[in-house]
Amino acid sequence: MNSPANNHSPEQPVAGVRLIVRGLHKSFDGQAVLNGIDLEVQPGEIFVIMGPSGSGKSVLLKHLIGLEAPDAGEILINGQSISTPEIAAQYRMALVFQSGALLNSLTVGENVGLYLTEHRLKPPEEIEKVVAAMLEDVGLKDVVDKMPSELSGGMKKRVAIARALIIDPQLILYDEPTSELDPISSVVIGNEILNLKRRIHVTSVVVTHDRDLAFGVADRIAVIAEGKIVTVGTPAEVKSFNDPLVQDFLRADFKRGG
C-alpha cells in the first residue's frame, strides 16, 4: 500500500494520482453490495461519493485502499492495477476511518508518528518534531501526550487526518469524515479537506451522506445506490440531475405539520 521510502516534507506539493475503477463487483454471503462500479477520479481532485446508508460506499472505499478484494473488476492507479502488492506498494495511500480508528493503547503523538516509527523512516527526535508540526497543521496543540480516549470526536478525526498526512499521501480517502460531529466541527473538517487539496494537491475521495460537506468540498460528486453509480458530475450537474432517487436523497427534509 504505502511505500516506506518517503521523506518528503508535508509542505512540498505531491502529485495526486489518477484513480480508475472498472466493473467492480463484491458480494457478502451471496448478497451483492457492489454491482459493477465504474468511476474515474482525476489527479488532485476532490471526488465525493454520496448515497444512502447501506448503499456500498464504505465497502467501495475499502476496495480502493486494498482492505477488501473485489470478486470481479479492477482498480487502477495511474494506469496500474493495485491488485498486485508490488504495484500498490509504489503509491502512498491513506484512509481516514469513520471512527478515527486511533490505536487506543498509544498516545496521540505515538498514533500520528506510528508509520514513521514502525518503518524507521526518521530518528525518534525528528519524528517528535514532525508529529508536533502535523498536529499543529490540523489545529491541535498540546495533545501529543494525551490518550485517544481523552479527545472529543472532532479532535479524534483531526488526529486521524494528521496520521494520514504523515505518510505524505498521493491518495487520501475519507470515510464519513463529519459523522457524529457538530456543525462547527464539520466545517473545520471540510475546510481541512480543501486546505489539503490546495497545499499538497492530493487526490481525495470522500464518502459521505452529509449533503453540506459534499456540495461544500466536491469538485465532482458520484451518487451511489444499491451498489451502482446512479450519476457522476459537478455539484451543479448532480443537483439538476433528473432522477427521483437522486432528488429524493438531495431534498429529503422534515415536514412539520400545522
Partner: protein, 246 residues
C-alpha cells in the same frame, strides 16, 4: 475449534516467518514479558505453594502408613515437576494472559485499529502477534521453573508440619533428590514451552477473527481460554508420551 485448526496452524506458520523481524519488536516483547510476569507472579506463587501442599497431603499419609516414608519427597517432586506445574501454570496463563490477548486484539479488530495498521502497511502479525508469542514462550517456562521450586517448598512445609507425616525439611529434599533429576524439570519446562505457543497462537487467532461488537469480543475471550485449555490437555498427553523415554 477444530474447524479453525488450519487457520491457527497458518497463523503460527506466518508468525514463524515473521521471526526475522523479532529484534525490531524487542521493545514490545519486553513490555509483554513484564506484563505477563507482573500479572501472574503472585498468583503463580500462591497456586504453586498450595498445589505442592495438597499433593503432599494426599499422597504423603498413605505412603507413610505403608512405610514408604522416603518416597514422599520423590512422588511430590515428580508430580509437580512433570505434570502439575507445567499444566496448572499453562491453564492459569490461558485464563489470565490468553484472555487479555484475545480481548485486546479482538477490540482492535472490532474498532478497525487493525485495518488502520494495514492501511499504514504495518503487518498485524509482526506488530501484534509476534511480540506476544515470543513473550509468552519465554515467560511461561520461567514461571514453571519458579512454580516447581515454590511447589516443592509447599510440599516440604506440609510434610514437615503435618502430624501424619512429620518428615523433616532436609529429609524431604534428600528423598526427592534420589528420585527427581534435572531432566525431569527440563521435561516440564519443554512441555510448558509448547503450551505457551498454544495459548499465544490460539488467543491471538481468536482476537484477529473477532466479529461483532462487545459481545463478539466476549465470545472470542471465552473461546480463546476454552480452546487453549482443551489443546493444552491433549498436547500434554502427546508430549508426555514423546518425552517418556528421553
Amino acid at each position: 475449534m477444530f474447524e479453525n485448526i488450519g487457520d491457527i496452524v497458518l497463523l503460527f506458520w506466518r508468525t514463524l516467518l515473521a521471526l526475522p523481524h523479532a529484534w525490531r519488536q524487542r521493545q514490545k516483547v519486553l513490555e509483554q514479558f513484564f506484563e505477563i510476569g507482573n500479572a501472574s507472579l503472585l498468583m503463580v506463587c500462591m497456586l504453586s505453594f498450595f498445589i505442592g501442599g495438597v499433593i503432599c497431603l494426599n499422597f504423603g499419609p498413605p505412603l507413610v502408613e505403608r512405610s514408604f516414608t522416603n518416597a514422599v519427597g520423590g512422588v511430590v517432586g515428580l508430580a509437580i515437576a512433570l505434570e502439575l506445574a507445567p499444566v496448572m501454570m499453562a491453564i492459569l496463563i490461558a485464563g489470565r494472559i490468553g484472555s487479555a490477548m484475545a480481548a485486546e486484539i479482538g477490540s482492535m479488530r472490532v474498532y478497525q485499529e487493525i485495518d488502520a495498521l494495514r492501511t499504514m502497511n504495518i503487518n498485524p502479525i509482526q506488530y501484534l502477534v509476534l511480540p506476544r508469542l515470543i513473550a509468552i514462550a519465554a515467560a511461561l517456562p520461567l514461571l514453571v521453573v519458579f512454580s516447581v521450586l515454590v511447589g516443592w517448598f509447599g510440599g516440604a512445609v506440609v510434610a514437615d508440619l503435618n502430624s501424619h507425616m512429620e518428615i523433616p525439611f532436609k529429609a524431604f529434599f534428600a528423598d526427592m533428590k534420589d528420585l527427581v533429576g534435572l531432566k525431569d524439570v527440563v521435561k516440564g519446562v519443554i512441555k510448558s514451552f509448547f503450551f505457551a505457543l498454544i495459548v499465544g497462537v490460539v488467543s491471538c487467532h481468536q482476537g484477529l477473527t473477532t466479529i461483532g461488537g462487545p459481545r463478539g469480543i466476549g465470545r472470542s475471550v471465552t473461546k480463546a481460554v476454552v480452546n487453549s485449555i482443551v489443546l493444552i490437555v491433549v498436547f500434554d498427553y502427546i508430549l508426555t508420551r514423546l518425552l517418556l523415554n528421553e
